[in-house]
């Protein structure tokens, strides 16, 4: 039996019933696509968490103020009526001396108000009030000028992200250093630009789209302004849990009313993995259901193909085809059908994971394992669901097949 001739005939026969072939393929495409998306997203998330570990280090805690003064671990359900208690800047700056487990802190204040340059609005810019330590803890780099310094408390200076600088230049600023931009009611003079940073990561802000001002300027700018987030670097040789307990105890001693939530990188990654698990579960369910539906579709197409070609089977048997030859012919046809579905499914799945990782701000990586899996699974579907029809065909009695029409 010549495999080549069989493949040629299988393609010919699939082409001669295009509609049916396409309909059968839909299920396979969705099924394989979901499986591919599942695997490649798993891979992407894995790479992503690795990348973030490398980028930020595992020794960084995030401290957030929490409303209502409940236990830190309750997750902080926000109720409007709960009284707000602000964290004092002096308390924050005292953390490294009060808690031996923390080596440095970088508090930040989210500013509000529109940013504009020369009377024109800056589309992608948000203000954050920071201290000098913010740069190092967040592993940011300066590309031009300098960062906000602790001596800038009484200066209306700002350092801007690379995107903000680009936007200012398109508004005709030329060299951005020394230019003034407005946020809300205040004017700030640009003293530096931060280097561009890849999207995503563990930072809770967009480094490229931020206007950094001194924290006291930000606190001064509006009555609502408060320290919303503190990033703390854990001292070497101290575990995250120990440092975290120290911070919690410190805040408890400072005030009865305010409470904070402390998150470590492990928790963020756990959260990310939970998110991924949801995707995986969903895609896995869709994938396996569609694979079964697709497989049944393939089986159906093949059964119809067999019953339409009984006469042909009879002729081939009369000319010397063995049962195995007939079985092989139909198996090859269903495998080719499934493989076509598999290839389309791979494209579909890779496309889906590109889109998902785009929205989740993850870095897309193409995994060759996923592609191999797609080819393998579609092959298996072809064999599994094609075997029954192929066997039916091979068991046809030559004379019965020949006499049928």
């Amino acid at each position: 039996m010549i495999i080549g001739a069989n493949i040629k005939e299988a393609v010919r026969s699939l082409l001669s019933s295009k509609q049916r072939t396409v309909l059968a393929l839909i299920g396979i495409v969705i099924g394989i696509g979901s499986v591919i998306a599942m695997v490649s997203i798993g891979k992407i998330v894995q790479e992503e968490s690795l990348r973030q570990f490398k980028e930020m280090g595992t020794d960084v805690l995030t401290i957030e103020s929490q409303f209502g003064g409940g236990e830190p671990s309750t997750g902080g359900r926000i109720t409007r009526s709960a009284p707000k208690s602000k964290i004092k800047l002096a308390d924050v700056l005292a953390i490294p001396t009060e808690c031996p487990g923390i080596s440095a802190v970088a508090p930040s204040v989210r500013g509000n108000g529109e940013a504009s340059y020369g009377g024109k609005k800056l589309q992608n810019a948000g203000m954050i009030g920071v201290t000098e330590s913010f740069l190092g803890i967040n592993k940011l780099k300066i590309s031009q000028g300098r960062f906000i310094s602790d001596l800038d408390a009484h200066n209306q200076f700002c350092t801007i992200g690379s995107m903000v600088a680009t936007e200012m230049r398109t508004l005709g600023s030329g060299d951005v250093i020394g230019k003034k931009l407005r946020v809300g009611q205040s004017l700030y003079t640009v003293v530096g630009v931060t280097a561009e940073v890849l999207e995503g990561g563990m930072r809770r802000f967009q480094p490229n789209e931020t206007i950094y001002v001194h924290i006291t300027s930000a606190l001064r700018s509006s009555r609502e302004a408060e320290i919303s987030e503190i990033i703390a670097r854990v001292s070497t040789g101290v575990t995250n849990t120990v440092a975290r307990d120290q911070v919690l105890a410190y805040f408890k001693s400072k005030t009865k009313k305010s409470s904070v939530r402390v998150t470590s990188p492990e928790e963020i990654i756990a959260q990310m993995e939970k998110q991924m698990q949801m995707f995986t579960l969903l895609l896995g369910a869709i994938g396996s259901i569609s694979l079964i539906v697709g497989g049944v579709g393939v089986m159906n197409v093949m059964l119809v193909s067999v019953s339409e070609r009984r006469r042909e089977i009879g002729i081939r048997r009369a000319l010397g085809a063995k049962r195995g030859d007939i079985r092989g012919q139909f198996l090859i046809e269903s495998i080719i059908l499934s493989l076509i579905g598999g290839v389309l499914g791979i494209l579909f799945g890779v496309g889906a994971s590109v889109i998902i990782s785009h929205f989740a701000k993850w870095h897309f990586v193409l995994s060759s394992g996923a592609i191999l899996l797609g080819v393998g699974v579609s092959n298996a579907v072809g064999i599994f669901f094609g075997y029954y029809p192929a066997r039916q065909a091979s068991l046809l009695d030559p004379i019965v097949a020949l006499k049928s029409d």
Binding site: M1, I2, S16, I315, R316, A318, G320, P398, I399, L402
Partner: protein
């Protein structure tokens, strides 16, 4: 070459049993050109299918080339059909998606030693049946007589010792039928191929060395 004795074949249709062959005994020697005649429904095709190993008898013994045919090994039966028997059917039975040449080559697909047979061999057979200029045509582009010629070339491709033709001229007019018959006679005379032809046409039967007449499931002497 063929030695059939007391071959019986019956079909069950519901509770009733229909005896189609009621004990056929027939010997055909190597190199013979024999025709089988008989009224419609007397069991000629049934007998032919048994001789061609497409069907199995209910009882009786069948020796092919001095060896009792065993029906237990289906693959072996396929092999014998492929290597020793060439079929020519009334309805031609060409595969509509294949060209004339591809149809002729089809039986080679089921041989391990297909490499022995060149494309030139198949073309030569098409030339022999006068169809060389139509090698690339699909069956639907050929007349009935032309299709039957392609079918004969296909029957010859594996160099069979026996050709079984079930009403090969049944769908053709007398002229074309005569030409087909000439081909069979030529193959029989020049290559010594044993040919068994079922026919309703006394003109065809007369050209054979021997005529066996069937009636009601038996061969009448």
């Amino acid at each position: 070459m063929l030695r059939l004795s007391e071959i019986k074949k019956s079909y069950h249709i519901g509770p009733t049993e229909v005896d189609v062959l009621k004990g056929v005994s027939l010997n055909v020697d190597k190199g013979e050109l024999i025709s089988i005649m008989g009224p419609s429904g007397c069991g000629k095709s049934t007998l032919m299918n048994i001789i061609g190993l497409l069907d199995r008898p209910t009882s009786g013994s069948f020796e092919l080339n001095d060896a009792e045919v065993l029906y237990t090994n289906d693959d072996a039966l396929s092999d014998i059909r492929n290597r020793n028997i060439g079929f020519v059917f009334q309805q031609y039975f060409l595969l509509s998606k294949l060209s004339a040449l591809e149809n002729v080559e089809l039986p080679l697909m089921y041989r391990d030693d297909a490499a022995k047979f060149t494309r030139e061999h198949s073309m030569e057979l098409l030339r022999r049946v006068g169809m060389a200029d139509r090698a690339g045509h699909r069956p639907s582009e050929l007349s009935g007589g032309q299709q039957q010629r392609v079918a004969i070339a296909r029957a010859l491709v594996c160099n069979p010792a026996l050709i079984l033709a079930d009403e090969p001229t049944g769908a053709l007019d007398t002229n074309v039928g005569g030409e087909i018959m000439e081909l069979f006679k030529e193959l029989n005379a020049e290559e010594g191929i044993t040919v068994v032809i079922i026919t309703h046409d006394p003109g065809i039967a007369r050209q054979c060395q021997r005529v066996a007449v069937m009636r009601n499931g038996v061969i009448v002497p």
